[in-house]
Subunit: 333 residues, 2 copies
DNA sequence: CTGAAAGCGCTAACAC
DNA sequence: GTGTTAGCGCTTTCAG
């Protein structure tokens, strides 16, 4: 704005350090002066310069956030949780959307240290990701959402992907489905491995040998592609379990185009429970992830680290997925 | 990180100003020194401190963004446009989601000046908004998306709302609909007034007197509520034109619950063309807004102001909506 | 309880 | 070409 603490001090007829004390709510200033200063702040419409403040105090009150795809409705939910939590503690968010590009991830991670963020929340994109190493080396409190790491060098927030995929697959099997295509996310992703494990677990329980796995990248388009492929290859299947709702929608669109009845001929399940999974026709059975909570928890973890200054203590928060049954399953007989 | 320009200077055996020159790509440094400095930067993993840099240079390279509802898929599209454009010019985004709360808007606007953002992109929420005044008084380059202002004191990016609503209504009328409920956004919003004007214009053209207007707040829930109300009040209608897709979905859900055939009995049109409008069953006829472009253009306007330092020259960019015909209209006979 | 003064890390004159 | 230096606006000892 141009108006500085000095202007306020002059206006109020005090020194800048007194003004500083008042602004920051530290006691030890007489009520009289305090009032005078507050008046001056008001009249001048003074806003403390966060850069100067941060430079001196080493506190930016900013959190950095990296998300893979803001167009996937799952992430806005997470972001909202993050925002709300950050807000509670007076923190602001720098947003970095990467479109799943690793260079972008790296760029943002570097940027964040330049901007002196006090914490980083990282939602890595699907593909195998060397940035995890980069991320791990950054000395700022940080947390990964939705990705287990092979060691415990960083805090994480996840849902139980094995359980989620197990619940979904078991549901399909219980409905009599036997040839279930599992549309996985990118294979190198831990979440993909876990969900695959859940899929296998349920299959084993039912003594089913038939494993059909295809790989997508969590986009609507990839869901379409995989399904089209399967159809062209004359793969026989009576169900599709997609690793997220967007791909499930892609599958459903292709199925509808080919006049394949959902769920009568092919049953479809998604993963995430985004709003539109309840609005589609047929509405989509899916595995609900507490997206908002995941974001919220992530911030809590980061802030705890920031406040306690306890580095090298890594927390893992595992949230529960749940099966949400809708119409993309057979009618009850 | 702790490693400063001084460390780099020492390591390279030069002065800090030389390092500064190299970092900022300003010429006038011998290749030899330059190389030595770049090496030191690399080895030390030096990242310039943006706060110090900004404090001195008055350039934060940050843009502030206020959006009303990140959960409405329309906004992530806009945000993506904004992000991509900002990225191009080396700018970073601070994200502020307000849930349509005016206090939040005001909070973020103030915060942005504290954070020394160089530009602000403001997407005001629906309700009548005294923050517009606050916004107008901020001395940073700024632009409003999706909201015309009564004077030209601030740059804007919009689509032609009169045209959009006209196109939609005319389409309905051409399909033989005569009792069209217009589900408006909040009445004080200029976009609402414009869309209402477009609705009226088409009605007049067809010589229809019957105007039925209801007010929502752009949420899915409000679309449901308005439709439920209309049904309970026994309002007679053969079409619903909602001011955004979310409300249209709300309407469609209620209609479906009541076993009212879409589009045979009631035709539904939305506004925005979010991804899911093509995925719903029936897919939703809607007025497409170039959301991504709106975001992108907004950044271009703000950055032009920043770069040219031309204040007090306000730009208005008007983009074209277009009618996207889908299944929520009668089958061709 | 209040003020003076020393920087935080960097940029940008200005000397040399 | 390269180095010296004076701040940017603020917080924070440390005196008084």
């Amino acid at each position: 704005m141009g108006v500085t603490i000095k202007d306020v001090a002059e206006r109020a007829g005090v020194s800048i350090s007194t003004v500083s004390l008042v602004i920051n709510g530290k006691g030890g200033v007489s009520d009289e002066l305090k009032e005078k200063i507050e008046e001056a702040v008001e009249e001048l419409n003074y806003h403390p310069n966060a850069m100067a403040r941060g430079l001196k105090s080493k506190k930016s009150k900013v959190l950095g956030l990296v998300v893979p795809d803001i167009l996937n409705p799952f992430f806005p939910q997470v972001i909202k949780g993050i925002e709300d939590a950050a807000k509670c503690y007076g923190y602001t968010l720098i947003l970095g959307n990467t479109d799943g590009k690793m260079e972008e991830e790296a760029r943002y991670l570097h940027l964040f240290v330049e901007k002196c963020v006090e914490g980083i929340i990282f939602i890595p994109s699907g593909t195998f990701n060397k940035n995890i190493r980069l991320f791990r080396e950054i000395k700022v409190p940080r947390v990964v959402i939705d990705r287990a790491l092979d060691d415990i060098k960083v805090s994480t927030v996840m849902t139980d992907n094995i359980l989620g995929a197990y619940l979904g697959t078991r549901h399909l099997l219980a409905n009599g489905r036997r040839r279930i295509i599992f549309v996985s996310g990118p294979p190198n992703l831990q979440a993909s491995k876990d969900r695959y494990a859940g899929y296998i677990k349920a299959l084993d329980e039912f003594g089913i040998k038939e494993k059909i796995v295809e790989y997508g990248n969590f986009t609507f388009e990839s869901g379409k592609m995989v399904t089209t492929d399967a159809l062209e290859k004359k793969t026989k299947f009576d169900a599709i379990f997609a690793a997220n709702d967007m791909m499930a929608f892609g599958a459903m669109v292709v199925l509808a185009e080919k006049k394949i009845a959902i769920p009568e001929e092919v049953e479809v399940i998604g993963y995430d429970n985004i709003l539109f999974s309840s609005l589609s026709k047929p509405s989509l059975t899916t595995i609900g992830q507490p997206a908002y909570d995941m974001g919220y928890e992530a911030v809590k973890i980061v802030l705890r680290e920031i406040f306690t200054k306890k580095r090298n203590s890594y927390v893992s928060k595992l949230l529960e997925p749940k099966l949400i049954i809708r119409e993309s399953r057979p009618r009850r007989n």
